[in-house]
Symmetry: C2
Subunit: 420 residues, 2 copies
Amino acid sequence: MYTNLSSEALGAEKKTISQIYEGYCEKKLKLNMARGIPSTAQLDLSEGLLTAVDSSEACVTDECDTRSYGQLDGLKEAKILMAAIMEVPPEEVIIGGTASLNLMYDTITRAMTRGICGHAPWGRQDSVKFICPSPGYDRHFSICQHFGIEMIPCAMGPQGPDMDAVEALVRDPAVKGIWCVPKFQNPTGIVYSDDTVRRIAALSPAAPDFRVLWDNAYAVHGLYDEESPLLNVRQAALEAGNAELVIQFTSTSKITFAGGGISAMSAGPMTRAWSLESLFIQTICYDKVNQLRHVRFLKDLDGVRAQMRRQAEVLRPKFEAVDGILTRDLSGLASWTAPRGGYFISLDVFPGTAKRVVALLKQAGVTVTGAGATWPYGRDPEDKNIRIAPSYPPVSELCTAMELLCVCAKLAALEKLTEN
Amino acid sequence: MYTNLSSEALGAEKKTISQIYEGYCEKKLKLNMARGIPSTAQLDLSEGLLTAVDSSEACVTDECDTRSYGQLDGLKEAKILMAAIMEVPPEEVIIGGTASLNLMYDTITRAMTRGICGHAPWGRQDSVKFICPSPGYDRHFSICQHFGIEMIPCAMGPQGPDMDAVEALVRDPAVKGIWCVPKFQNPTGIVYSDDTVRRIAALSPAAPDFRVLWDNAYAVHGLYDEESPLLNVRQAALEAGNAELVIQFTSTSKITFAGGGISAMSAGPMTRAWSLESLFIQTICYDKVNQLRHVRFLKDLDGVRAQMRRQAEVLRPKFEAVDGILTRDLSGLASWTAPRGGYFISLDVFPGTAKRVVALLKQAGVTVTGAGATWPYGRDPEDKNIRIAPSYPPVSELCTAMELLCVCAKLAALEKLTEN
């Protein structure tokens, strides 16, 4: 966009864009696009959840009284529901509390303190490393950093992680895991190709306690009436003789209530038994009444799909608005993804300016995910990636914020191009 | 009871009791009194909880939309409610998921992996020990055992733990904590005396990362229209200059739903900040819709007290039935507690026979808490303590089970007395 301009022209353009930016600053905006938060309209879609279990009698199932203790690994019916989302057998599922992140954290904690399935605790091993396809989900990286697990970034491409790099990295016995968001990846929105899934499922890591943490947070979160098929990783792993390799996670946070849903994990028989062994010590049971609410409200996979079509109707215009504004204002200067589902758009601005763009936005009253957050240790090597979360604001506010973001991206690029 | 009998008389009595026991076996009973599970009648008391938040609008408070992310440490209103139960300021409270046990487990996990408030992780210290007043709560002991924390039993008396022993033990810098159920203790039902609370609050442990884990599970769980006052441990600790010494825990598991309540902890400012630092990595938020349900349903401490009076009406006849049968059938042979609240009665049978009594019960179809469970590592040094949990069965079944238990206690004692 600016590459063929003379330095005088760049200076003039910078002045123009600066003035536009100042105009935005005067508007005293106050918008937050930092996280993938469902909008009120989306939350309203699950009003029926609130009354799905509305009497003492309704709490009692063939299996148990959901109001009481028991069913540590979850209600059978909830396992069936969440198993359908994860495409695994219900007997491999464990139902958790509101946040699947907590199930992931617990898994890492168990590995740190007890070791996976009889292997030495990671906390007592000299070096523990994780492969972190980047850009990726900051909360995954935070867990690693919290426990002192060394993170090795690995490139995310349109088909998924760079599998040549991954296959080379797992030869190191200190490499104990890889974070994957296989469908509508956070933040790129890409879906892992069949080949990527097959190669992940067929990994032969040097470490026997290596696990793939498969965070299928957006398993049913398509924006369009189309299939975005993800190869069944469990099936692929079984075919590769890797029954214990993959631990899957998902939740209803973005199906029903972000702050009142249910989460689930699934794993091979040994890894599941190992998880339950600790879970039995850790807690009495998760909220079974809320599990039952979800079963009654969503019913089955068809019910989930119908709910997600309603969610998509609210979300789709926002994603399209973002893409439209970026295309209009930043073509030639930046690149971005055009996801068919999920919660995020990944924007690469002019190299070396992401931090500056985020700072400019903040100064003008718009909060986005911190620059660098999508990389381990917050270190984006090219300082170019910004995660855009279009779900929360109404379309009009979203458009204002995106137009401002484009102004900031231009201004930061012009500042860079006119340096000394 | 049997001490003055000749060996012939003992033999004859053993024959009689054996026949009675055989009679019970033929009844093919199937009763479970293993855990302190609320009865259906108790759970029905909280039917209103299910519809306390029944529309989208009802989910939104002055503070936030409870359906969405955020409020990691809990809704303000929920903190006020749980703070009233724990008698602490709301700003010291963190609200958790269904189980306070999980908050305790998380606390120990953080101490193991990260160390408490900047001190070395317990997992990297050569020796970590906990004081375990016994008989005590098996799930506390399981957490210690799970993490390889050495448990040091310490006698429970009618006023609480043997404080001379506790004060001596904390001089060892490897001693990092003590488990306390200060009110209606599990399983004895005793309430810590003011003096005990003051001495605990004034402990000067050698370890700077020593903490009192104050599991006030039965804070409002009296069976009678009377106060069973427990000295405010936070206040006492503050007076002793020990603001960070005590971490409190409680839950609504036995106020509303055992499998769908909310839990809470409170701690001094540094310990709370240290907990939140990890919690921020661990999860997004707990179920705020359920927190709001509890606020709307229970309202305030008066509402909680009214609810607990209704609970007591269901529970009291059961505790009194157990005491009546024990008094009638085991006076002179066994001793037991007569709690004014809580969920358990602690029964000491003839020394060396608790395991046998539990086995006899099991053989006749009645499951009680395993003998030894109330001691660290399941090792009751005198093999005499059995925890009785009268809450779940209807009174008639409870009486049958207790009568059988008395028969088993007699038979086991007679077996012991007629050995070789």
